[in-house]
């Protein structure tokens, strides 16, 4: 990935607003790659779109991953150790305890550091397992369209989609162990069982639209085997969707694991941000003003989720360029040298800041850049993209 190098694209500091991510202009012959996805052509670097959302999301996610690895090691105290037996009142933050203490004088900061590992591990485990499931089921269902296998798999996905997941998980975890689950791998896998359906549905829809494309048809006519067509023709073109559904599932995993731990279904001594919230709730920290106890874990969960959601939005904007135009402000427009770029939305005109010289690939995606209203056409000096070839609506695919 070449995030932040900013040299081959003129280094405008635009954060890549409007750069479709289909490879920089110095790699000619890429040809117009059909949206919704740009195929990572073999032998080339995969270019991640350098939108500020993606950069910020990746940075935050990286920080959380580092926290997950080193957190329990650098924690100043043991998260379960009572540091004083005489005091029964949570202490506010001090020099000795940066985030204060709990009811039984445990160090909140240490708990926060130690709890990150379990939370992030479970979230990513469930994300990975659910993504594998959804690719297997979604892509095969889409590829086998029209046969009973597709009907069956779609039905299965729909079933898991309408079933309220959290109550189901509560029942499962309730029966699993009376003192609460402690095994991160097991928890992650169980959460994954309820979290794959959304991704499978989106992937099935995308596979359906891909399988009738010419290049897939020709691969089939040549006599490629089914699994090979899927693995080398379809799957690479599904990558952005897979990535998006992976992030979505990790986000789901964070929320679900935290909720389960908050309910006390995970052993409270198994430190995670959810179990910290469980213990805080147990002594009514929120109505007693012990903000230092419940704000850190809750904020950590929220920020981790925000990082994942931001990455997801970045990918969405990458898949569907029309969502992206919102980022073009007057300042950015001036910087890019686009004169008279409409600051406000103009009907029929999607302003896209393009770095010059415009990459050939992006220009062809832009198809016919006409169709602007009378008012807007005066300002058509700025590049207007009517993304006719853009994918179906992101939201519609998901539903």
């Amino acid at each position: 990935m070449s995030i932040g190098t900013g040299t081959d694209l003129g280094g405008t500091g635009l954060g890549g607003v409007g750069v479709g991510g289909t490879g920089p202009g110095d790699q000619p012959g890429g040809g117009p790659l059909p949206p919704p996805v740009s195929a990572p052509v073999r032998g080339r670097r995969i270019q991640l779109p350098r939108s500020p959302k993606i950069i910020a999301g990746l940075a935050m996610l990286g920080a959380f991953l580092v926290l997950a690895i080193v957190g329990p090691i650098v924690a100043p105290y043991s998260p379960s150790a009572s540091l004083s037996t005489t005091n029964g009142v949570p202490q506010p933050p001090s020099a000795a305890h940066w985030l204060g203490t709990t009811q039984v004088q445990q160090d909140v900061f240490s708990q926060l550091l130690a709890g990150g590992r379990s939370t992030i591990l479970v979230a990513f485990l469930s994300g990975i397992a659910a993504t594998i499931l959804s690719v297997l089921i979604g892509v095969s269902a889409g590829y086998l369209h029209g046969r009973w296998a597709d009907d069956f798999l779609s039905m299965l996905a729909n079933f898991f989609l309408v079933m309220p997941a959290l109550p189901l998980l509560i029942v499962i975890f309730g029966f699993l162990s009376s003192s609460g689950a402690t095994n991160d791998v097991l928890i992650g896998l169980i959460i994954a069982i309820t979290g794959w359906a959304w991704g499978a549905r989106v992937l099935r829809a995308q596979t359906l639209s891909l399988r009738s494309r010419d290049y897939v048809e020709s691969a089939r006519i040549i006599g490629e085997r089914g699994w090979r067509v899927i693995a080398s023709e379809i799957l690479p073109n599904l990558m952005p969707v897979v990535a998006s559904s992976f992030l979505f599932t990790v986000l789901y995993g964070v929320g679900t694991y935290t909720a389960l731990a908050f309910l006390g279904l995970v052993n409270p001594e198994h430190w995670s941000w959810g179990s910290m919230l469980f213990q805080a709730q147990n002594v009514n920290a929120e109505t007693s003003g012990y903000w230092w106890w419940y704000i850190p874990p809750g904020l950590a969960v929220a920020l981790l989720g925000t990082a994942l959601a931001m990455l997801n939005f970045g990918i969405d904007e990458f898949i569907n360029p029309r969502l992206r135009a919102a980022g073009v402000t007057r300042r950015q427009a001036r910087k890019s040298g686009g004169r008279g770029l409409p600051r406000r939305f103009e009907l029929g005109l999607t302003p896209v800041v393009r770095n010059r010289p415009a990459p050939g690939a992006a220009a062809s995606t832009a198809a016919a850049s006409t169709a602007s209203t009378g008012a807007a056409s005066r300002e058509a000096a700025s590049t207007a993209v009517t993304s006719t070839g853009a994918p179906a609506r992101t939201r519609e695919q998901t539903s």
Binding site: P164, I170, A259, L263, L277, T287, G289, G305, G348, R395
Partner: protein, 325 residues
């Protein structure tokens, strides 16, 4: 109509599957469900209790698995979900019946408000793209990612504990006389505002982003351009675009409603609101398996009904689905 009939069939099958799952989960887990339940009854055990539990689970009888399954269905159809162990000796049905009105009142109303509010805001944000309204989006990202109960914690701490504007929990004052008198109704509303606001704040974010994204795409459609070119008032143009853009939101309802209900139940817990979420917490705390199963079934059925309603609305809104039939 055929569309709806087909969906109805799907939901019926799903409901049957849900019941089957609930039947099998305790039997797949290690140990004997009766022992598991008994271990949490703590002294309240009489031979009669054991007998009724065994009957409930169909153990100890000569029935095979299939027979047990049938018995489970017969009990279910008669509304017999067993005896709650944490509210012993109340039955699961009566405990749930006491909690449901609160949940429907709070979660139902809050969900409708958030859907309407989120959709309208989403249209606005899309229409005024590039203005200050875009700044709403990062905030919605945060609220989409934050757990409902964490937002509830903060709301409770700030507005109830510190500022004292709202009560700190429960659905009404213990000293009230429940009934249709002004004091009681006002008190119930007073207690509902903060939890409802929390649910709306958290769930509206998803609707805003979803509606905005579809709206942005829809506004590039030719018919919107034509409407604008014909010189229709801007308001009418937005209306046409929004009417078409709302379809994915309605069909995405099935995905969202499960999340919203789950989040809302956790919100109830933070506010000690005596709805399903609260008895769910009691059931989890006391490992009250019969009650857990009952709550799961009730929530599943409610979500399926909400889905059916959303499907019907979709058919009403989109003539294409009617033509296919």
């Amino acid at each position: 109509m055929r569309v709806i009939a087909r969906r109805l069939l799907f939901y019926i099958v799903t409901a049957i599957l849900a019941v089957t799952v609930v039947f099998f989960i305790p039997r797949l887990m290690p140990g004997n469900p009766v022992e598991a339940v008994l271990s949490h009854l703590m002294g309240n055990v009489t031979p009669g209790t054991i007998r009724s539990l065994e009957l409930q689970y169909g153990l100890n009888s000569k029935q095979g698995l299939w027979g047990q399954y049938m018995t489970f269905w017969v009990h279910l159809i008669h509304g017999n979900l067993g005896v709650s162990t944490s509210y012993y000796p109340s039955t699961v049905t009566s405990v749930i019946r006491g909690a449901i009105p609160w949940t429907i009142g709070l979660v139902g109303v809050a969900t409708v408000i958030s859907f309407v509010l989120g959709t309208v805001l989403g249209v606005l944000v899309a229409w005024r793209r590039g203005t200050w309204l875009d700044n709403l989006l990062p905030a919605t990202t945060f609220f989409q990612a934050a757990p409902y109960f964490f937002v509830a914690f903060i709301a409770l701490d700030i507005f109830a504990t510190r500022l004292g504007w709202f009560p700190t929990g429960r659905a009404y004052n213990q000293l009230d006389f429940p009934g249709l008198n002004a004091a009681y109704v006002g008190d119930v509303l007073d207690h509902a505002i903060l939890p409802a606001a929390t649910i709306v704040l958290c769930s509206a974010a998803g609707w805003i982003v979803g509606m905005r994204n579809v709206m942005v795409t829809t506004m590039d459609e030719d018919y919107v351009l034509v409407a604008q070119a014909k010189g229709l008032a801007k308001r009418r143009v937005v209306w046409y675009a929004a009417r078409n853009a709302i379809l994915p939101s309605v069909s995405g309802f099935s995905l969202a409603i499960g999340f919203v209900v789950s989040g809302a139940l956790l919100t109830e817990i933070v506010f000690s609101y005596p709805g399903l979420g609260w008895i769910l917490l009691q059931a989890v705390g006391g490992r009250d398996y019969p009650l857990l199963q009952g709550i799961f079934l009730i929530i599943t059925f409610a979500v399926l009904l909400a889905n059916l309603a959303a499907d019907s609305v979709y058919v009403l809104l989109d003539p294409r689905t009617r033509q296919e039939a």
